[in-house]
C-alpha cells in the first residue's frame, strides 16, 4: 500500500509538471472504463504497444505508464503509446506496467485506481496471419489474407482475392495453413473461378486440384504434418441456411464429410476415414506427427436428395466426438481409430482440435451442436491437459459470445483465438497465456495503432495462425499462379491401414490424376 502511495505521489509530481493533474486531484468514485481492456492482463514481452482509449466522459485525459523507473505520459482520450517508449516500458522481461489514469471535468482532476499491465518473459511468435473480411452470408467480394507483425503494427496483405476476380467471376480464398510456424511451406485454397489449392513447397509455388473422382470434395480444413511432407484435409460438402429469428444468424452444415491425406511429394490423395455413416472432420496432427485427431458425428441417412433437409431438421442432434488415429509417417500406415472424448454423451459437439507444440495440451471448441462453432453464441474453448488428465471448458477466457478458431504459439505458451465478445457478431483476435498449471491468464486483444479501430472496423478476423517469419511470396506471384496456371490434378491412392493386431488390411493402388489410369502397387 505504501509502495503504491509513493508511486502515486511520484506520478502526480510528473503529471503536475506536464500540465496535468495537480495537488487538488481527487479519487474518482466511478470505475475506469477502457477499451480494449488491458487492465491486469499478462502480455508477452515482445508485444506491440497496448494502446487503449478511455471511455469515461471527461474534458481532459491524462495517463501515466511506468515501469522499471521509466515513465511515459500520454494526454488525450486515446492512449497511443509511442513504440520507442513502449519498448522501454516492457524491456527486461517479467514486470508490471503501472497505469494511472486521470480525467478532468471542469477544473477538477480525478484519479482512477492504478491498474497494471503484467509482462511475461515468454515471448510470442512475431507474426500472425488471418483473413480479414466483411460479414458475409452467401455473396463474397473482397477477402484479404493478411500477415501482421504483432511486435508492432505492420500489417501486410499477402494475398487478396480481388487480384484474381475477372469481371463477375469471383474467387474465394480461405483456410491458410503453415508448416511448423514457417512460411516456406504453406497453403491456402482458392475456390470457384480459377480454383485450386495453392501450395508453397520449400519456397516454390504449386496449384493443385485435390478433388478426385473418389473423394467428395477438394481438400478443405488442412493440417500440415510436423515432420513429413503430408497434409491432412477434411472433405466437406458444406451448405448454410439462415436462422429466421435468432441471435445466431447463420447455420453452416455439412452434408458429407471425410478426411484424407495429401502426400505432397507424390501429389496423391488417400483416404483416412470415409465411413458413410460417420461425418469426419477437422483433422489435426499431434505434435510428434504420430497421431491424427479428428472429430466425427455418427449419422445414418441415405445419400439422396432429401439428405440435406434431414440434416437440417436434425441439426440440433449433430454432436461431434473427438477421435484419434495412430499414424506411422515413415510407412504412411494408419492404425485403427479410437474415441478420445464422447461429447455426444454430454449433448455437446466438439470441433477444431489443436494440440500444443509441446504435446501437453489439446484445445478444441465445444458447443451445443453442429460443426461450425463460430456462428454459435454457445461455443466455448475446451482444454485437454494430457499431463494431468484434466478436460474442461476454459471458463477463465470464455465470454457470453462465440469463441472459436484457435491456435497455439510455437512455444506453447500463448493461445490465440477468434471471439465475438466485443459486439456479439464481429470476430476479433484475443490472446491468453497458459501457465504450468494449465491456467489461462485474462484475455487481451490484438493491439491496434488506433485503439478505437476495432470498434469502428466493419471487418472481422478469421482463421488466425501464428508464424515465426514473414511470408516471402509476393501477392502478385500468388495472383499469377491462380490466374494463369491450371491446377494439377492429384492422384488417388489407397489407404494403408492395419488392424488392432498390426496386420495390413488394405491393398495398395493408385489412380493417376491426369489419366485416370489405375495401377496396382
Amino acid at each position: 500500500m505504501k509502495k503504491h502511495s509513493i508511486l502515486l505521489c511520484f506520478v502526480m509530481a510528473i503529471a503536475s509538471c506536464a500540465g496535468g493533474p495537480d495537488a487538488g486531484t481527487i479519487t474518482s468514485d466511478e470505475s475506469l472504463r477502457i477499451f480494449p481492456d488491458y487492465s491486469e492482463v499478462l502480455i508477452p514481452c515482445n508485444l506491440a504497444p497496448a494502446n487503449f482509449m478511455i471511455d469515461n466522459e471527461a474534458d481532459a485525459f491524462y495517463t501515466v505508464l511506468s515501469n522499471n523507473g521509466q515513465s511515459v505520459t500520454i494526454k488525450g482520450q486515446k492512449v497511443r503509446i509511442p513504440e520507442k517508449d513502449w519498448k522501454r516500458l516492457i524491456s527486461g522481461g517479467d514486470g508490471r506496467i503501472e497505469v494511472n489514469v486521470f480525467i478532468r471535468r471542469g477544473k477538477e482532476w480525478a484519479a482512477f485506481p492504478t491498474f497494471g499491465i503484467n509482462i511475461s518473459s515468454d515471448p510470442i511468435d512475431r507474426y500472425i496471419a488471418y483473413r480479414k473480411m466483411p460479414l458475409i452470408v452467401q455473396v463474397y467480394n473482397s477477402l484479404e489474407m493478411i500477415q501482421r507483425d504483432i511486435t508492432c503494427f505492420d500489417e501486410k496483405v499477402y494475398f487478396s482475392n480481388t487480384m484474381v476476380h475477372e469481371k463477375s467471376e469471383g474467387t474465394c480464398v480461405n483456410c491458410h495453413a503453415f508448416s511448423n510456424y514457417k512460411t516456406d511451406n504453406m497453403q491456402f485454397h482458392a475456390r470457384e473461378h480459377n480454383g485450386g489449392t495453392i501450395l508453397v513447397i520449400d519456397g516454390a509455388l504449386r496449384k493443385v486440384n485435390l478433388k478426385t473422382p473418389m473423394t467428395i470434395s477438394a481438400g478443405v480444413y488442412p493440417s500440415w504434418h510436423p515432420t513429413h511432407k503430408f497434409i491432412a484435409y477434411s472433405n466437406n460438402k458444406t451448405y448454410q441456411e439462415m436462422h429466421m429469428m435468432s441471435h445466431d444468424k447463420i447455420e453452416v452444415l455439412d452434408q458429407e464429410n471425410d478426411i484424407v491425406l495429401y502426400d505432397i511429394e507424390n501429389n496423391a490423395i488417400s483416404p483416412i476415414e470415409n465411413d458413410s455413416s460417420e461425418m469426419e472432420c477437422f483433422p489435426t496432427w499431434s505434435a510428434d506427427g504420430r497421431t491424427l485427431y479428428y472429430v466425427s458425428n455418427h449419422y445414418e441417412s441415405p445419400f439422396d436428395s432429401e439428405r440435406f433437409d434431414r440434416i437440417l431438421n436434425d441439426r440440433l442432434k449433430l454432436h461431434f466426438n473427438l477421435y484419434a488415429k495412430p499414424f506411422d509417417p515413415d510407412t504412411r500406415t494408419w492404425g485403427p481409430h479410437y474415441l478420445v472424448y464422447d461429447a455426444a454423451e454430454k449433448d455437446s459437439s466438439m470441433t477444431w482440435p489443436r494440440e500444443s507444440p509441446d504435446g501437453r495440451f489439446l484445445m478444441t471448441c465445444i458447443s451445443t451442436h453442429g460443426i461450425f462453432p463460430i456462428d454459435q453464441i454457445a461455443s466455448d474453448l475446451f482444454l485437454f491437459d494430457f499431463k494431468t488428465g484434466n478436460a474442461r471448458i476454459i471458463d477463465e477466457i470464455s465470454s457470453p459470445y462465440a469463441e472459436s478458431y484457435h491456435a497455439w504459439s510455437s512455444n506453447s505458451k500463448w493461445a490465440m483465438w477468434s471471439t465475438r465478445r466485443e459486439d456479439g457478431t464481429f470476430t476479433r483476435l484475443y490472446f491468453s497465456h497458459i501457465d504450468e498449471n494449465g491456467h489461462f491468464s485474462k484475455p487481451f486483444t490484438l493491439p491496434q495503432k488506433d485503439p478505437e479501430s476495432n470498434r469502428k472496423l466493419l471487418y472481422e478476423y478469421n482463421v488466425p495462425e501464428f508464424q515465426i517469419e514473414p511470408i516471402s511470396v509476393r501477392p502478385e506471384d500468388f495472383a499469377k499462379l491462380i490466374s494463369e496456371s491450371d491446377a494439377i490434378p492429384a492422384a488417388f491412392e489407397s489407404k494403408r491401414e492395419t488392424d488392432n493386431d498390426g496386420n495390413l488390411t488394405t491393398s495398395d493402388y493408385r489412380i493417376d490424376g491426369m489419366t485416370g489410369a489405375s495401377v496396382q502397387k
Binding site: 466483411p134 460479414l135 458475409i136 452470408v137 452467401q138 455473396v139 463474397y140 467480394n141 473482397s142 484479404e144 496483405v157 494475398f159 487478396s160 480481388t162 487480384m163 484474381v164 476476380h165 475477372e166 469481371k167 463477375s168 441456411e241 439462415m242 436462422h243 429466421m244 429469428m245 435468432s246 441471435h247 444468424k249 447455420e251 437440417l312 441439426r315 466485443e422 459486439d423 456479439g424 457478431t425 464481429f426 488506433d450 479501430s453 470498434r455 469502428k456 466493419l458 509476393r474 501477392p475 502478385e476 495472383a479 490466374s483
Partner: protein, 647 residues
C-alpha cells in the same frame, strides 16, 4: 443579339438541367445518395487509397452526399458540368464558333448517370454520380497544366507526375489526361509550345504514352485489390454484372475517347473553322442538337421506376400514407385515357374474326393500361397492412407484375429486400440482405441504418453501436443516429418508437432455418402461411390472411381466417375477407354461416350475373374490360390476376 444568345445558351441549358433534376428527378437523386456513403473519418480517406482511382471515388462520395438535398446536389453537379464544358473549350482550344463540341463529353457524363435506371441498384462502387465528372475535370486540368508549362522539362515533369500520382488518385482519368496532353503537344493544339521543335514534341507525346502504359504496371506492386489487366479501367464505375458494365462504360469510353480525339484533331478543326464559317455555324447547331437529343433519348424514363423509388423512400420513413398516395396517383393517373383506350380496343376487337385476332389486338393495347411492378404491389400491401386497411382495400387497387424496364431484371431482394423483410419482422433476412448488399456494393447510408435498426430490434446494443458510430460520422444521417442510440440501449423505449413498434408485432414466429433463394415475395408468402407461432399478434394474423388471399389457395384461406378470428378485436369481417368468404363458400358449395354484409352479397350477385351474360371475343380481353366494373373486389383478383411472375 447572336452573341448574347450564344453566351446565354450554356447557362440556360445548365439552369434547365438543374430544374429538371430538382423538380422531376428528386427521388432518383435521393436514392442515389442513400445508396452511397461518405464518412468524415480519417480511415475512410485512407481506405480510398487502396485502389487507383479510390481517391476520386472518395471525392465523388463527398459530393454525392449532397444529393440528400436534391436541389443542392443537382446544383453542385450542374455547376461541375458547366465548368467541364467551359474548361473543355479552354483546355483543347476549341474555336468559339464550334463551342458546341464541348457539350459532347458533358452529354456523355449526363447520359452515364441519367440512363442508369435500375442499374443504380447494382452499381459498384456507389460514388459514380460525381466521380467521373471530377475525373473529367482532372483530365482537363492536366491538359491545361501541360499547356501552360513553357519548358520541355516542365511539361515532361507534369506528364510524369500526372501519370503516376494521377493514376493513384484517379486511375484511368489521369492516364487519359496525360495521353491527351501528350497528343496536344504533338499536334500543336498546344499553342504555347509552338516554338518547341518537333523532336521534343514527339518526345513528350511518346513519353506520355509510355507513362500511361508503364505507370499502372510499375505501380501494381503497391496495390493488392485488383487485377493487373484491369489497371486501365481503374477509376471507372462498374456494375456487378458484365452486360451492364459494358453498357454503362460506353458513355465513359466515349468521353475519354473524345478527349483524345479533341487533342488529336483540334488544329485541323481550327483550320477548317477558319475557312468555312457557314458550315461551321450549321455544324455547331447540329452538334448542340445532337447532344441535347442524345441526353433526351438516353435519359431513363419509367413511371413505375420513379414510383418505386418514391415508395421506397417513404417506406424508409414509415410514411405509409405517402406510400399509398404514390401508388394511388400512379395507378389512376391515366384512367380517362385508359377508358378511351378500352373503347378503342373494343371497337378494334369487334372487327376481328377469330379469337386469335382478338388476342392480337388485346396484346397491341396492353401497354395502354397501367400495370404495377411486383415491388410496387409489395410496398402498397405493406403500407396498407401497417395502416390496418389491407383487408378492406388491397384488392381495390390495380395489381400486376410488369417487368422492369431494364437491361436485366434486378431481383426485388437486391432492391428492397432489407426493407420488406425488416417491416414484416423477418429481421434476420433483412440482416442477410444488408450484408449481401454491402458485400456487392459497399456500405451505404441505407444499409448502415437498416443494420443499426436490426441490431436495435434484437437488443444487440454493441452491435448497433458499430453502425450508429459510422452514421455519427456522416453529414445528413448523424441526427438519425443520435436519436437511435438511446433506443438501442433501452428495449422499452425502442418498442414504443417507429419503426420498431410497428415491426415487433410481426415477429410472432419461432426460429427455423430457411433460405429465400433470392425470391422475396414467395418467401414472405410462405412465411405467413407456415411460420405462425402458437400465439400470434393481430398484425401477424392480418398479414397472414392477406397473404393467404394472395395465394388464391382456398384451404390456406380458411386456416388463416380461423387464426385471424382468434386474434381480431373487431368481429365485423373486413370487406375483402367477406368477399373471399362468399366466393370460396360458393365454390365449395358450403355455407359456414359467417355473417356477410348485404353490400357484399349484392356485389357478388352482380358479379355472377354479369358473367352469365357477358360475351368476350377471347379470354385475354376480359381482365381490362372487367376491371372497370369489378376491379375493386376480391372476386376480380381471384379470377383475373393469375400467374404473376415474381422475382
Amino acid at each position: 443579339m447572336k452573341k448574347i444568345t450564344g453566351k446565354l445558351a450554356a447557362p440556360a441549358i445548365a439552369a434547365i438541367l438543374w430544374a429538371i433534376l430538382t423538380f422531376t428527378q428528386s427521388e432518383v437523386l435521393l436514392k442515389t445518395s442513400d445508396l452511397s456513403l461518405f464518412l468524415f473519418d480519417w480511415t475512410f480517406l485512407k481506405e480510398s487509397f487502396m485502389i487507383p482511382g479510390g481517391f476520386l471515388g472518395w471525392a465523388g462520395s463527398f459530393f454525392t452526399q449532397f444529393l440528400y438535398i436534391p436541389w443542392l446536389g443537382a446544383l453542385l453537379w450542374v455547376a461541375m458540368l458547366y465548368a467541364a464544358g467551359h474548361l473543355t473549350v479552354r483546355a483543347f482550344g476549341i474555336p468559339s464558333k464550334l463551342k458546341a463540341l464541348a457539350a459532347l463529353p458533358v452529354a456523355a457524363l449526363v447520359i452515364a448517370n441519367m440512363s442508369l435506371g435500375y442499374g443504380m441498384f447494382i452499381m459498384r462502387p456507389q460514388d459514380y454520380f460525381f466521380a467521373p465528372t471530377l475525373g473529367y475535370l482532372l483530365i482537363l486540368g492536366i491538359i491545361s497544366a501541360v499547356r501552360k508549362a513553357p519548358l520541355f522539362w516542365e511539361k515532361t515533369a507534369i506528364i510524369a507526375v500526372s501519370a503516376a500520382a494521377g493514376f493513384i488518385v484517379s486511375g484511368v482519368f489521369a492516364l487519359a489526361g496525360t495521353l491527351a496532353a501528350g497528343i496536344c503537344v504533338l499536334t500543336e493544339a498546344d499553342n504555347d509550345c509552338a516554338e518547341m521543335n518537333n523532336g521534343k514534341k514527339t518526345g513528350i507525346a511518346i513519353l506520355s504514352l509510355a507513362f500511361c502504359i508503364a505507370a499502372p504496371v510499375l505501380l501494381y506492386g503497391c496495390f493488392t485489390r485488383y487485377r493487373l489487366a484491369d489497371s486501365w479501367s481503374m477509376g471507372l464505375p462498374s456494375i456487378s454484372d458484365d452486360e451492364w458494365t459494358v453498357r454503362i462504360r460506353l458513355s465513359y469510353w466515349f468521353m475519354l475517347g473524345l478527349s483524345l480525339l479533341f487533342a488529336a484533331l483540334m488544329p485541323t478543326l481550327k483550320k477548317a473553322v477558319a475557312a468555312k464559317s457557314d458550315k461551321v455555324r450549321f455544324a455547331n447547331v447540329a452538334i448542340s442538337i445532337i447532344a441535347v437529343l442524345s441526353v433526351a433519348t438516353f435519359w431513363y424514363k419509367d413511371a413505375n421506376f420513379k414510383a418505386e423509388l418514391k415508395m421506397s423512400l417513404a417506406v424508409d420513413r414509415s410514411d405509409w400514407e405517402e406510400v399509398n398516395d404514390i401508388y394511388r396517383q400512379v395507378s389512376t393517373k391515366h384512367l380517362n385515357r385508359e377508358k378511351k383506350a378500352l373503347e378503342k380496343r373494343k371497337a378494334a376487337i369487334s372487327v376481328t374474326g377469330t379469337p386469335e385476332q382478338a388476342q392480337f389486338v388485346v396484346k397491341e393495347y396492353e401497354k395502354c393500361f397501367f400495370q404495377p411492378t411486383r415491388l410496387m404491389v409489395m410496398f402498397r400491401d405493406l403500407a396498407l397492412l401497417k395502416q390496418n386497411k389491407a383487408l378492406d382495400t388491397a384488392f381495390t387497387m390495380r395489381d400486376g407484375a410488369k417487368e422492369q424496364k431494364s437491361l436485366t431484371q434486378i431481383p426485388m431482394a437486391f432492391q428492397a429486400g432489407r426493407q420488406l423483410y425488416m417491416h414484416y419482422g423477418l429481421v434476420n433476412m433483412a440482416y442477410r440482405w444488408c450484408l449481401e448488399d454491402q458485400v456487392e456494393h459497399g456500405w451505404s447510408y441505407g444499409t448502415l441504418r437498416y443494420m443499426a435498426a436490426y441490431a436495435t430490434l434484437l437488443n444487440e446494443t454493441e452491435f448497433a453501436a458499430k453502425y450508429l458510430g459510422k452514421l455519427d460520422r456522416t453529414l445528413f444521417h448523424r441526427n438519425w443516429s443520435r436519436k437511435q442510440r438511446p433506443l438501442s440501449a433501452d428495449i422499452q423505449k425502442m418498442s414504443q418508437e417507429l419503426p420498431y413498434r410497428e415491426i415487433i408485432p410481426y415477429m410472432s414466429f419461432s426460429d427455423r432455418m430457411s433460405n429465400d433463394l433470392v425470391k422475396c415475395e414467395t418467401y414472405i408468402m410462405k412465411h405467413f402461411a407456415e411460420d405462425r407461432d402458437a400465439v400470434a399478434s393481430p398484425e401477424f394474423d392480418r398479414a397472414a390472411l392477406l397473404w393467404a388471399m394472395r395465394t388464391q389457395n382456398i384451404n390456406l384461406f380458411w386456416k388463416a381466417l380461423s387464426q385471424y378470428l382468434s386474434t381480431a378485436s373487431d368481429i365485423n369481417l373486413p370487406k375483402h375477407v367477406q368477399e373471399a368468404v362468399i366466393l370460396y363458400s360458393n365454390l365449395e358449395k358450403e355455407d359456414l354461416g359467417i355473417p356477410i354484409d348485404k353490400s357484399v352479397k349484392d356485389s357478388y350477385a352482380v358479379f355472377n350475373e354479369y358473367f352469365q351474360h357477358a360475351r368476350f371475343s377471347c379470354e385475354a380481353e376480359m381482365p381490362a374490360s372487367v376491371w372497370f366494373k369489378f376491379g375493386n373486389t376480391y372476386y376480380y383478383y381471384y379470377y383475373f390476376i393469375r400467374g404473376l411472375q415474381t422475382f
